[in-house]
């Protein structure tokens, strides 16, 4: 596994644990899987290039049961677009009892977007495959 992905995994694990509170114990190994798995299949990832080459700064690609990048930092007011490139359907669902955003089921090539107006750290997951995690950091 490339060195960068380990570092990214560790960072994501810390962020997820921070956001998830009581999910600390569960989140660490999963975050590792979430970040590490897709990157092994990203051309260029092994050379320390950007983890995800194709999407722009406000896109999250869903591929092979993972959000990429797992952690995305954007400026307040940015519209983040998720694109499902998996054969499996997925959702983008904010964590918490009253999710701030919640996509419908996204079939292959479906998109979902949400505008993040306020700074903060937003954790989300896939309601079908709840070990799929992502974080949006809004500055």
């Amino acid at each position: 596994m490339p060195r960068l992905s380990r570092a990214a995994a560790a960072t994501a694990a810390i962020l997820i644990a921070f956001a998830a509170g009581s999910y600390w114990r569960l989140a660490v190994p999963h975050a590792h899987a979430v970040v590490a798995m897709p990157m092994e299949h990203q051309p260029g990832a092994a050379h320390g290039a950007k983890p995800i080459a194709a999407p722009g700064p406000s896109q999250v690609m869903i591929d092979n049961f993972a959000f990429g990048p797992a952690t995305l930092t954007v400026a307040a007011g940015t519209e983040v677009v998720w694109i499902n490139e998996d054969e499996e359907p997925h959702t983008v669902t904010a964590s918490g009892d009253k999710p701030l955003f919640k996509s419908p089921p996204l079939d292959t090539h479906d998109k979902f977007s949400f505008v993040f107006k306020k700074p903060g750290t937003y954790a989300y997951f896939c309601a079908l495959h709840p070990r799929m995690w992502g974080i949006i950091i809004v500055r």
Binding site: L26, A33, M37, E40, N64, P105, D107, F125, R131, W133
Partner: protein, 313 residues
């Protein structure tokens, strides 16, 4: 004594019993022992062997009507083949148990198509949802159609020919970072449902996601399964039928045997043998050999079922 006997029956059967089963099943059957569970695995062609004087039913799973990926462009067609195989059984099954992922995206037209196909079998069908069936409104459209009259969260039980069937829901309200989930209310219901039942009553439990940690790395398990299983441990014969992972995996824990099933739509990779658990693409002439249905038969007087997995090849 009765308990000890059923203990024996639930575990690996004797050589004599295994040979009897082999004789009943006939040629063309590959017997394998996976996790200590003997099973007949049909390679194709022939019809199921009848169990004289017994009681049998069929498990069918993960029909994914609406799926349109490369792994199977026609899941309705392969479900049709599965239903033809069921219709050709020499012993008419008492019912079909569908262990979830009836649809691919919880769309009304997918539910419609699946229901019409399933009804064409002219057999009673009991359904439980998979996570693909509860994508809309926590599964309300699914339950309204496939679990009519069920008042609780979609779980229910019934009795058939002396066997107690428990149909569980472990795909609703999944929590970030988790796997399948039953929830406290359902586990409490299960406890009450089993209360007063004799330990010699054979139990069949249906749940979509595996009720044991089949492969947690891919969320192939149920976080609070152990709490539910605690209420089942006192029974002499407990058969857990799961779906979700589109292949046969088995495990024994005491008197409880766990069996996942093949899909009728598309296969998935064996645990850890691919980058992820997505649909497994195989050459089209091999697809049917990786899809299948399961027959479950209780021989007359036996509390332990014989499971026969048969591919659609």
């Amino acid at each position: 004594m009765a308990e000890r006997k059923s203990d024996r029956e639930t575990g690996a059967p004797s050589r004599r019993r295994l040979l009897q089963c082999m004789a009943a099943a006939g040629a063309g059957t590959l017997w394998t022992v996976v996790g200590g569970v003997p099973q007949a695995f049909r390679l194709g062609g022939e019809a199921f062997a009848a169990v004289p004087g017994g009681f049998s039913f069929v498990q069918l799973s993960d029909t994914h009507i609406g799926f349109h990926g490369e792994a199977n462009p026609d899941p309705s067609g392969t479900l049709g083949v599965a239903l033809q195989r069921i219709a050709a059984l020499p012993q008419k099954p008492a019912m079909i148990l569908h262990t979830g992922d009836v649809s691919h995206l919880s769309k009304p037209e997918e539910f419609d198509a699946a229901e019409q196909l399933m009804n064409s079998a002219r057999l009673k069908v009991h359904y439980i949802p998979g996570e693909h069936d509860t994508l809309i409104d926590d599964g309300k459209p699914f339950f309204a159609r496939f679990a009519k009259g069920v008042k609780t969260g979609g779980w229910y039980s019934f009795d058939q020919s002396g066997v107690h069937f428990v149909a569980l829901v472990n795909v609703v309200g999944l929590q970030p970072g988790g796997q399948g989930k039953l929830g406290d209310a359902q586990i409490e219901w299960l406890k009450k449902d089993l209360m007063g039942k004799s330990a010699s009553t054979p139990i069949v439990v249906l749940a979509h996601m595996p009720l044991w940690p089949a492969y947690p790395e891919w969320s192939w398990g149920t976080d609070d399964a152990a709490e539910a299983l605690a209420h089942l441990k006192r029974f002499g014969s407990v058969t857990v039928l799961n779906g979700h992972i589109h292949q046969v995996l088995q495990k024994i824990e005491g008197n409880i045997t766990f069996h996942t099933a093949m899909s009728t739509a598309y296969p998935q990779p064996a645990p850890g043998e691919d980058k992820g658990p997505g649909p497994l693409k195989v050459p089209s002439d091999q697809l049917r050999s990786m899809l299948g249905v399961r027959s479950i038969a209780y021989a007359s007087g036996s509390k332990s079922p014989v499971l026969t997995d048969r591919t659609l090849a």
